[in-house]
């Protein structure tokens, strides 16, 4: 070196998100323009997930699936059944039991422009990968000054899976949704699961995709044609003027069950399936509350600092004067998930507990 220091860049220029140039962000259509939800192409939730991954892997060779038991065994919950046969071991990859390992390695692969789908057999097991998925993936773009994004999907079962005991029944949304830089999607049905997972795979940012073991066998019509559901758009599952009921993931079904019973008593619920909690479509909730003036939020994670708490805080901030009754949360009980069948059912925000909450709110 013979010259003095001659910095090429004395000014920092705007960085370009490296993943953006190569991403085909779908053109989203309105809810009414999406293919019909009615039809006879009835498949399971797990098949809807498989279709989403398969379609995207056929389209884009940068996409691959890695996780424990995803290849030879066809997935611990058979979500990836047959995918090894179609795509081979280089794209459907059985990983050593090392969640932190494969999560971190896939962040490296995503930084280089590949588009990994990381399957956690259960989100409970993602806790050992917390540093990678919370402290690295959602901050990569920020901490690299906009240089490296992290187009990655982390997906797996979330919530009580049916007598799996407290260590295997984590509902991570309450804890993880607190972290800026990630997107979090929690579909409640096969139709949404497919449309949202396709969007997640195309998304240039890290997406936490929370499924439920208890819903993998749920069946519904899923259109054959390609469709994408945007994040941050709630779906009105049922219309009513008396009270707003919002939820996401599995408890949406408990809400619908409760709403059905309440209709028999002449109480009509506006039921919103939020579909994603990061971003959260609070505008749609506000709109509904301004119509019904009452709200119950149902959330299958613990109450303290939960997504339900956040939703209610925002409702109070934005439409306090429209409320005729204080907002009410229905969460899981604030104890570890019980092992016993009866206790687990009682612990969850079941239809009974929702009914009780709604009746209290509308009676005053």
């Amino acid at each position: 070196m013979t010259t003095a220091y001659t910095p090429e860049l004395t000014e920092i220029k705007d960085a370009i998100h490296p993943a953006l140039g190569k991403v085909e962000i779908p053109d989203f259509v309105s809810e009414s323009e999406l293919p019909s939800r009615d039809g006879d192409r009835v498949i399971q939730y797990r098949e809807a997930l498989r279709e989403a991954m398969t379609e995207e892997m056929r389209r884009d060779e940068r996409v691959f699936l890695i996780g424990e038991e995803v290849a030879e065994y066809n997935g611990a919950y058979k979500v990836s059944q047959g995918m090894l046969d179609e795509f081979g071991p280089k794209r459907i990859i059985d990983s050593p039991i090392s969640e932190n390992g494969f999560a971190g390695m896939c962040i490296g692969a995503a930084m280089m422009g590949l588009r990994p789908i990381v399957e956690f057999m259960s989100w409970s097991f993602s806790l050992v990968a917390a540093d990678q998925i919370l402290n690295n993936a959602p901050k990569m773009l920020y901490m690299s000054g906009g240089q490296w994004g992290c187009p990655i999907v982390f997906r797996g079962n979330d919530g009580a899976g049916g007598q799996l005991g407290s260590t295997h029944s984590w509902c991570v949304e309450g804890m993880f949704a607190n972290v800026p830089g990630l997107k979090m999607v929690i579909p409640s049905n096969p139709y949404d699961a497919k449309g949202l997972l396709k969007t997640a795979i195309r998304d240039p940012d890290p997406v936490f995709f929370l499924e439920s073991e208890r819903m993998l066998g749920d069946k519904a019509h899923v259109p054959e044609e390609e469709y994408f559901i945007p994040f941050g758009r709630a779906r009105v599952c049922r219309e009513g003027d008396d009270i707003t009921l919002i939820s996401w993931g599995r408890p949406v079904h408990f809400c619908m069950e409760a709403a059905e019973k309440l209709a028999g008593d002449g109480i009509e619920c506006d039921v919103l399936d939020m579909r994603s909690v990061r971003p959260l479509d609070i505008d749609s909730v506000i709109e509904s509350v301004k119509k019904t003036n009452r709200i119950v939020v149902v959330d299958q994670s613990w109450p303290f600092g939960s997504v339900a708490s956040e939703a209610i805080a925002q409702i109070c901030e934005r439409c306090f004067d429209w409320l005729d009754h204080e907002p009410v949360r229905v969460n899981t009980i604030d104890v570890p998930t019980p092992y016993a069948k009866n206790l687990e059912a009682a612990y969850l925000p079941n239809a009974e507990r929702i009914l009780e909450a709604v009746r209290a709110v509308v009676s005053e």
């Binding site: 910095p7 390695m105 490296g108």
Partner: protein, 381 residues
């Protein structure tokens, strides 16, 4: 046979240039030209000057916490020389200033980072490097993933080098990265800067194994210990590892034995837990002194040249500091820029109002109509 040995292993150590400047002509034959060694010595000297200035900047409140590289320069220098700029990838920890600079990151970016500005991590286009990593060990998995993507894409003639300290080898990330790299046989070089101390915990309390290099045996990975203050040994080991990697030979491990002559960071005071005698012994093994002795024996260096170099290094460092301090401080608006590919609505509202509450964000709120958002706050450095 009821009992038999099913695995035999040994760890080799390489030293070519000892602390007195004695050179092993057989091992070091044809390794580096005098011109290359002079260049390396100059680079290490400039880095040392920068290190001293960075320390002073922190003490005078012009920079945040800074980890000095002092005493460890030969590790990143020798290894970075063996890697190919613009082709290979460098995934650093935080004591590899030279390696980052040699592979294309302007020095003032590194200072900018430690001054507390993420834009210092905005790696320029064409520079194959990840931002420096401070959480200990997490980046080793990223390095493995990057090497893996090279393999998946059949990109020949490229490899990745990642750096970490002796303490990081206690982390799960280290073992995850080593296991994946080994099972997938990807072109990555794990370079451990064994500087004997993880903040205040000495290596022998960090691990019971006498070498760090032997940890790679469990992953069936070629592994070697080198004198990390010996430029030649570091270069040789890295060159061999890179050749192996690009020929499809998979990952390698190098333990570069060195010593942290400074504190862990400027927030630390090593005098409270470290013997002066130990420090003195290592001061004598300083890679700069040793390289200079070698060059003097070769007739390629003298006091006059040294004086000129020190003068030039001072000038360069002054300009580096000026370049870093000359960059306009970020504005509060800026921290919304790199959160997502597209700014979500909820964050846009926060950006426009600098409030996390909804005050002023929803025009329909009673009593808030017409209230304007506060001015964006300018941040000072």
């Amino acid at each position: 046979m009821p009992r038999e040995t099913v695995y035999n292993a040994k760890i080799e150590r390489i030293q070519i240039l000892d602390e007195d400047g004695n050179f092993d002509a057989k091992l070091g034959k044809g390794l580096l030209t005098n011109e290359q060694v002079v260049n390396a010595y100059e680079q290490m000297t400039i880095c040392r000057h920068l290190d001293e200035i960075a320390f002073k900047l922190q003490r005078s409140g012009r920079m945040g916490t800074y980890p000095q590289n002092k005493g460890q320069e030969a590790n990143p220098m020798g290894s970075a020389m063996a890697m190919v700029k613009g082709k290979d990838w460098v995934i650093p920890c935080y004591r590899e200033n030279i390696a980052m600079h040699l592979h294309g990151l302007p020095y003032h970016y590194i200072l900018l980072h430690w001054m507390g500005d993420e834009r210092g991590n905005q790696i320029p286009k064409g520079v194959n490097m990840a931002p420096l990593s401070v959480p200990i060990g997490t980046h080793m998995l990223h390095a493995t993933g990057i090497a893996w993507s090279m393999k998946l894409r059949k990109e020949k003639d490229r490899a990745v080098i990642t750096y970490f300290g002796d303490g990081a080898t206690s982390e799960g990330d280290f073992h995850g990265a080593m296991n994946f790299a080994s099972t997938l046989q990807v072109p990555v070089i794990f370079f451990c800067q064994n500087n004997q101390w993880a903040i205040s915990v000495p290596r022998e309390e960090q691990m019971n194994s006498p070498t760090v290099a032997q940890k790679a045996l469990a992953y069936e990975m070629p592994t070697v210990q080198v004198d990390g203050n010996d430029l030649f040994a570091v270069y040789k080991a890295t060159k061999e590892a890179r050749e192996r990697a690009i020929k499809g030979g998979g990952p390698s491990f190098i333990e570069g034995v060195t010593y942290r002559l400074g504190d862990h960071t400027t927030a630390d005071d090593a005098r409270r837990y470290r013997d002066q005698a130990e420090l003195d012994a290592w001061l004598a093994k300083d890679p700069l002194i040793r390289t200079r002795k070698y060059l003097e024996k070769q007739g390629a260096w003298d006091d006059k040249k040294q004086a000129k170099l020190d003068e030039r290094a001072q000038k360069i460092v002054t300009e580096i500091v000026r370049a870093a301090e000359g960059i306009e401080a970020p504005k509060t608006n800026d921290f919304f820029d790199h959160m997502f590919a597209e700014l979500p609505e909820a964050l846009r509202r926060q950006r426009d109002t600098m409030r996390t509450s909804s005050l002023g964000q929803d025009p329909s709120q009673i009593g808030l109509q017409g209230r304007s958002a506060p001015e964006t706050v300018e941040a000072g450095r």
